[in-house]
């Protein structure tokens, strides 16, 4: 888990890594880009960094509200608005186009929300319907604009594919203002948004206007999308709204931390992506930014502590190994119980007590031996050491106590308790063992006899 001042270091660290990586692999115009000497480069880098931050900020909340893919519908839904505004205004004035896009995007979000209320139309279908039908209408309007020769189509295509390199000062200002607007709203309504994301029903019971909050949240997404369109294009703005938030989620369970991380991830992707694409010819900035975010995502998914896949896998593996070792020890304890202490058990017979693969069992035995729990002689006869015996007896005792408990208090048939106890014995803490002893009135050290017939391994 990441918390505290460490968070402040994430962005500089990521940016440094990005810059070093760019510098290492070299680029055509590397030095000029890295020094940010060029005015245009400064504008582009500033614009994409702010966009990444803004999208990461609002994306956190849509992600947690499980509305991530609504951004997909919304981004596509802006097209008819932009095209219609283009047809009406008749020139590539940026503000009317953005207003048109925002109106159509809002309409799209409302349609998704309305369609979802209809029986048999689920969230996914509602999103798909809105995005395809709205986009279809947009294409018709767009082709109308082209056929009326009202100007080159590139003006509108710019919104679909985005032209990062063409960002001008005005665009950067717009993105900056959006980021500030979102920041202010989130600061003001942080508590409300938190409630909405984690327990909407509770928010409603507290008298919060859930629908108004939802709409407000979606309105912020609409604004981010619309100003992001011309920077990175339609599909990639969706990515910026989803990926940084999803990546941040791996590192923390705390909303404020996650929000902050998501902003940093978004900003770092924007910064480094624009830098890389500026250093090489022929690299579309929007796509590179998204790939940077993707790298962050997969890194987080793999290596975040606790939620990351690698550590989770390692923890599962360690647990399996521990359970396997305990099974070996218990099998030996049961053998000793039957044939007296110091009885040795041949490996072949041990293997028959469970569905062990030979290689798996051998590994387990070597691990036990390394922990000085058993000895194995050259002819594969196994015997518990004093240390191992203490542990094995404790395990066997836990197993039997649980079996007795199940029989006495849970009405489980004696023939069925072995398996249940088998699963629980590894995780019984000492406090529960004491409780079991009290309930079953068992002595502190004795191992109760097995309540069911023991299968003999021959």
């Amino acid at each position: 888990m990441i918390r505290g001042p460490v968070m402040l270091l994430v962005l500089p660290a990521l940016v440094t890594v990005g810059v070093i990586a760019t510098a290492t692999f070299g680029g055509d115009e590397l030095r000029r880009v890295l020094s940010l000497a060029d005015y245009n480069t400064r504008i582009v880098v500033l614009g994409t960094t702010l966009l990444g931050a803004a999208a990461g900020l609002i994306g956190t909340f849509t992600y947690l509200r499980k509305r991530a893919m609504v951004a997909d519908a919304l981004a596509h839904a802006t097209l008819p608005g932009i095209a219609a505004a283009f047809l009406i205004v008749g020139q590539k004035e940026i503000v009317p186009l953005l207003v048109g896009g925002a109106i159509a995007g809002t309409l799209g979000v409302l349609c998704v929300m309305g369609l979802r209320r209809i029986p048999r139309i689920h969230e996914d279908a509602a999103i798909g319907i809105v995005l395809s039908v709205f986009f279809g209408i947009g294409l018709i309007l767009k082709s109308a604009a082209t056929q009326l020769s009202m100007g080159d189509q590139a003006g509108l295509d710019r919104f679909i594919y985005g032209t990062t390199a063409g960002l001008i000062k005005q665009d950067a200002w717009l993105i900056g203002m959006t980021a500030v607007l979102i920041l202010l709203t989130v600061l003001l309504l942080f508590k409300e948004f938190r409630l909405l994301c984690f327990d909407a029903a509770y928010a409603r019971s507290l008298g919060r206007r859930v629908r108004v909050l939802d709409l407000l949240m979606m309105a912020l997404v609409v604004i981010t999308t619309v100003v992001g369109l011309q920077a990175v294009g339609l599909i990639l703005v969706i990515a910026l709204l989803i990926i940084p938030a999803a990546a941040a989620r791996f590192w923390t369970d705390d909303l404020a931390t996650m929000t902050w991380l998501s902003v940093e991830f978004g900003a770092a992707s924007g910064f480094v992506g624009a830098l890389i694409s500026g250093s090489y010819a022929n690299l579309p900035a929007g796509a590179v930014i998204v790939i940077c975010a993707g790298v962050l995502f997969f890194f987080s998914m793999g290596f975040a502590p606790e939620r990351g896949a690698v550590f989770a896998w390692w923890r599962r593996y360690a647990l399996r190994r521990r359970i396997g070792r305990q099974h070996v020890l218990r099998a030996l304890a049961e053998h000793e119980e039957r044939y007296g202490n110091l009885a040795t058990l041949p490996l072949a017979r041990l293997q028959q007590t469970r569905s062990w693969r030979a290689s798996e069992l051998r590994t387990l035995i070597y691990r036990c031996r390394a922990a000085d729990e058993l000895t194995i002689d050259p002819s594969d006869n196994i015997r518990l050491t004093p240390t191992g015996r203490v542990r094995a007896h404790r395990l066997l005792r836990n197993h039997r106590l649980w079996e007795l408990y199940l029989i006495r208090y849970a009405d489980v048939a004696p023939t069925h308790v072995d398996r249940d106890a088998d699963q629980i014995e590894h995780v019984l803490p000492a406090s529960i063992t004491v409780e079991l002893e009290r309930l079953l009135a068992e002595k502190q050290t004795a191992i109760p006899a097995s309540p069911h017939p023991m299968g003999d391994v021959s």
Binding site: I118, G128, S132, I140, I235, I238, N282, G286, V290
Partner: protein, 440 residues
């Protein structure tokens, strides 16, 4: 524009084949709540197409298909992986995966522009106008390919009807029946990728996404049977193709403009229109039908409430013979709206009430019977609630008022047994006798 069978006929056929092929596999996507997989795959195949092109240096359909199928499967796999190992919600996982793949595709395209003539907008919009032109030089390749894909989808859907059905509705059951739901899932994904790629060139990815989702949802609103749903979704796709092309031809004439919209874009609009109509008129689930049911229920409740008032009035007067209540008084109680007027009229038409002295209303014998049943339900429920909960006396009326309309003969008998057949309700008013079975 004049109609030409060769040109327009081919365009319609191409649009129909693409739409129907999509609708067949899309039905299962909708049922499995994975509609957006179509969206994700149609965007994500971009890098597959570019890599296939870079390797083979040709735009041959074979290489494109292989590239698309590989990336299509990769999309499905990665989505599943991110959702499972990263515990990311399925929709968001899809969003993460397809946008990254799309971005990789864009980078590849740009890096390869020197020796590639591949335009991402071709994938997005398709080029159905080319089909029109090509049709005059023999059968267009797109038509042949689409026919093959449609046939493939049809054979798959028919041959694995049972397997697909079980794995779509109940993956758990399908495993116990020995049907590998996962295998079905990936087979479906392969077909979605194939269909998408073959349709791209002709009609564009937006139409693919629309046809994968919209006609199946329309059909799903109209029927409960899978077979009929498949059939309807294919019919709607076909119809959308025909009507959209006719509309495209008619457009310049009707609106007197030189603008001629694109058939495939128009087709998504028509599919959307069909859906809008279905949402309104669908039997049982449609908005109209639901509004009608709601209205009918409100009317019934209003009628019963009027009968109840008349009964209580009569009871209050202690008069067994018809005691009339002024209509104006009833209107004052129930409001002057059309619902009350209609309820009053329909009560008279059903001979449950009778007009006395021009402006007063009384129960007929039949009406009395009906009112007794209602009051019995009301008071039995009050008694039951009083016996089984700690509600104070003055809080019993409200719940009974709501529930009285929904107590049928069987529930009434059960209630009567439960409260040991009392003569009076908790307020001391008598519970009308009578045998519920005898009533209509």
């Amino acid at each position: 524009m004049t109609w030409s069978w060769q040109g327009d006929g081919t365009v319609i056929l191409v649009a129909m084949l693409a739409g129907c092929a999509c609708a067949l596999v899309g039905s299962y996507l909708v049922l499995r709540r994975m509609s957006l997989m179509g969206d994700a795959i149609s965007h994500a195949v971009l890098p597959g197409l570019v890599i296939a092109f870079l390797i083979t240096h040709s735009r041959g359909i074979g290489a494109m298909l292989i590239g698309a199928v590989v990336v299509g499967i990769l999309t499905a796999l990665l989505t599943q992986m991110v959702a499972r190992y990263g515990k990311v919600e399925e929709g968001a996982a899809m969003g993460v995966v397809f946008t990254i793949l799309f971005a990789i595709g864009l980078v590849l395209i740009r890096r390869a522009t020197d020796h590639v003539d591949l335009d991402p907008s071709c994938v997005l919009y398709g080029n159905i106008a080319h089909i029109y032109a090509d049709a005059f030089h023999g059968t267009p390749v797109a038509l042949k390919n689409l026919a093959i894909v449609f046939a493939l989808n049809l054979v798959f859907v028919v041959a694995f009807y049972k397997e697909l059905k079980v794995s779509a509705f109940d993956p758990g059951l399908s495993s116990t029946l020995g049907i590998n739901a996962n295998l079905m899932h990936y087979a479906l994904m392969i077909l979605v990728a194939l269909t998408a790629v073959v349709s791209f060139e002709a009609v564009g990815s937006i139409l693919v996404i629309a046809m994968l989702i919209v006609p199946p949802v329309t059909a799903y609103l109209l029927t409960d049977r899978l077979g009929i749903m498949l059939l309807l979704s294919v019919v709607f796709s076909g119809l959308a193709a025909v009507m959209s092309h006719l509309a495209v031809i008619a457009f310049p004439v009707w609106f007197n403009t030189p603008i001629q919209p694109d058939t495939s874009a128009m087709m998504t609009v028509f599919a959307g229109l069909f859906l809008a109509v279905a949402i309104v008129v669908a039997p049982r689930r449609g908005l109209a039908s639901q509004a009608w049911q709601h209205m009918a229920l409100r009317l019934q409740i209003r009628r019963e409430d009027i009968l109840g008032i008349l009964y209580r009035f009569q009871e209050h007067l202690g008069d067994e013979t018809a005691a009339a209540m002024p209509t104006e008084e009833l209107r004052r109680i129930f409001g002057h709206g059309p619902l009350t007027s209609y309820a009053l009229r329909s009560l008279r038409r059903r001979r449950l009430t009778v007009k006395i002295g021009g402006s007063s209303l009384a129960l007929t014998e039949k009406g009395l019977h009906r009112a007794e049943r209602l009051i019995r339900s009301h008071r039995l429920w009050e008694t039951y609630v009083a016996q089984h909960s700690d509600l104070p006396l003055d809080h019993l009326h409200e719940p009974a008022e709501r529930v009285e309309h929904f107590i049928g003969p069987r529930l009434e008998t059960a209630l009567r047994e439960e409260v040991a057949d009392p003569q009076a309700d908790p307020h001391g008013r008598s519970i009308p006798s009578g045998h519920p079975e005898k009533n209509d």
